[in-house]
Amino acid sequence: MNISDLLSFLSEDRFIPELKAKTKSEALEELTDILVDANLIRNKHLILEMLHRRESVGSTGIGHGIAIPHGRTTAAPELIIVFGRSSSGIAWEAIDGKPVHLIFLVIAPPHEEDNQYLPMLGKLVEFLHDENNRNKLLEIKTFQEFEELIKA
């Protein structure tokens, strides 16, 4: 698996250059609402419950202004990724205590034939470890620029 495979799961309608959310809870809801609007999920409460539960196990804020809330849920039809950015930053109880600016929501169904969920999560973590990539993600303005960065 390659980081460019991310684009199979994240389309333009799942790209939010500026989140309205000011808190972690609002951000999780705003990112999940995208999937409701796209008719991908019918019960957002189940998804939010799972995401909050995951946060209670340990923050998905992995440091350097990044959060990757994630999990499998019976309510997810397929592997789905949503990107959201917050220029003001959101408190996420991240491991380095810093506010979060770049958020990737990753949800997956209970089972996929070609188990892409964990490898994709791994690739995403790897990609975001690179300071260069993080800086570019903070600067890009359009989904096309996002695509170019991921494909590069």
Partner: protein, 113 residues
């Protein structure tokens, strides 16, 4: 939100899925606190108290047999056994709230649409 038994079961299965992959996500570099994992077990206990005994028994039996007791329905197909479901189930008025099992594999159905 007042939850029905099906939603409670789905939440239970979601906890079981999470418990199974805690080590995997930890290895990827995510924070998984020991107390967090214990709290997840407690949340599971609390949830099982809200689910009727016979239904919980059914869930555990199906889980032992198939790993996952609840399977999604996409279109008119059970994604557990890929059997096409009969029309009377597809048009069932209360399918999002009722416990409906697949006639092919016996698993509990979660309707994606």
């Amino acid at each position: 939100m007042n939850k029905n038994q099906l939603d409670l079961l789905v939440a239970l299965q979601d906890i079981d899925l999470m418990l199974k992959e805690l080590d995997d996500v930890k290895q990827l570099g995510f924070e998984v606190r020991t107390e967090g994992a214990e709290a997840l077990q407690r949340a599971r206990e609390e949830l099982t108290q809200k689910i009727g005994k016979p239904l919980l028994g059914k869930y555990e039996r199906l889980r032992a047999r198939y790993k996952r007791a609840i399977v999604p329905v996409k279109g008119d197909t059970c994604l557990g056994c890929f059997m096409r479901l009969p029309t009377y189930l597809i048009t069932h008025k209360d399918k999002h709230n009722q416990i409906i099992t697949c006639e092919g594999c016996g698993r509990i159905l979660y309707w994606l649409e």
